[in-house]
């Protein structure tokens, strides 16, 4: 849960459908913000990206509640940026860059409280035949990732969970491709050591 009320209040303000003012605004169809995307394009883009972005935020922050809140804030800021994108890749990079910065800010303001992202109650929702096996692996990954720095989690996630090329990862994380490679190499060694159960000198 949030200790700092700022982000939460901002999100709560936008999330308040029961309030009569917001109700009347919507009913009167008097709400037309100047976004660069129309509703259909946005909804289609959201449906393609929301779950993947949530997974990214959950692993980078290690906080399920923060991932929920940051997800909506990221899409809002993405819309507000009002930028026209040349391609789907540019659009995704921009969204992830916004989300990464939001996660970084939330961490600085200590609104992120790492905790188990996946709980036993989730077992029914996990797709696939071997959901128990998946959850075991998931718990191992969660434990190992929690030992890494947030920027290491972000770059490893983008490289191996999402299979993004180095150019796209550097763009999303605001790094130069040349500086990404050695960082990624070190982070990979560290996580591989942790996953193999070796609390090696690579791990903190």
């Amino acid at each position: 849960m949030f200790r700092d009320a700022t982000l939460r209040d901002a999100i709560a303000a936008a999330l308040a459908p029961a309030d009569s003012e917001s109700g009347s605004l919507v009913e009167s169809q008097d709400v037309r913000a100047d976004f660069a995307m129309d509703e259909d394009s946005f909804r289609s883009f959201y449906d393609r990206t929301a779950r993947g972005l949530w997974a990214y935020l959950a692993r980078v922050t290690g906080d399920r509640q923060a991932a929920d809140d940051l997800l909506q804030d990221a899409f809002y800021r993405f819309l507000r940026a009002g930028t026209e994108y040349e391609s789907e890749a540019h659009r995704r990079n921009s969204l992830y860059r916004i989300a990464t910065n939001l996660a970084r800010d939330a961490r600085r303001r200590s609104v992120v409280r790492p905790d188990a992202v996946v709980s036993g109650e989730d077992i029914e929702r996990v797709a696939g035949a071997d959901s128990a096996g998946s959850l075991d692996l998931n718990a191992d990954v969660e434990r190992a990732m929690s030992r890494l720095r947030p920027n290491e989690r972000a770059m490893l996630w983008l490289a191996y969970a999402e299979g993004e090329p180095h150019v796209e990862i550097a763009d999303r994380l605001g790094l130069k491709v040349g500086s990404l490679k050695p960082l990624l190499f070190r982070a990979r060694r560290k996580l591989a050591g942790l996953l193999r159960g070796k609390d090696s000198d690579h791990a903190r």
Partner: protein
């Protein structure tokens, strides 16, 4: 050893395309079993991609129409808030200018005010200051300077401080 093997992208591609390890050439499998870099890449890619699938299946993002609707609402509220700010600043500046103008007119036209001002100024060493102040223009300029020094910062503080 510093991080790169010419086969790592092939290993990663095989995992991403769900071909690893059964549906890849045996040479690549053999290489990966003896190459620390490719072994790490395969381990991480398999674990993190499976983890991602688990997280995606438990994610419960709000419905896209609701997110769009809330974004519209939030943008509208922010626009209203932003629009109210210049109005406040303009109002405060207007009030400050009116107060300055009224004060200047009073100072320039009131005999009592001018005589009191001259009496105070007569204590000044330079006789030139008193003469300057007794003229309507001089007094007007002095009041304008005092108004700017006091009222403008106050107006700015009020306008900015309101948010």
């Amino acid at each position: 050893m510093h991080g790169e093997c010419c086969f790592e992208s092939e290993v990663l591609a095989a995992v991403v395309e769900c071909r690893w390890p059964e549906r890849v050439e045996s040479e690549l499998r053999v290489h990966a079993s003896g190459c620390a870099i490719c072994a790490d890449v395969a381990l991480l890619a398999v674990a993190l991609r499976e983890d991602r699938e688990v997280l995606k299946s438990i994610a419960a993002p709000p419905e896209s129409g609701r997110v769009w609707w809330m974004a519209q609402l939030r943008a509208r509220r922010e626009a209203e808030k932003a629009a109210s700010r210049p109005i406040t600043a303009a109002q405060v500046f207007g009030a400050a200018a009116t107060a300055w103008f009224a004060g200047a007119c009073f100072g320039a036209s009131s005999d009592w005010f001018r005589s009191e001002f001259v009496r105070l100024a007569s204590g000044a060493e330079s006789a030139g200051i008193g003469v300057f102040l007794t003229s309507g223009v001089g007094l007007l300029l002095l009041l304008a300077a005092v108004s700017i020094i006091i009222l403008v910062p106050a107006a700015v503080w009020l306008a900015v401080g309101k948010d």
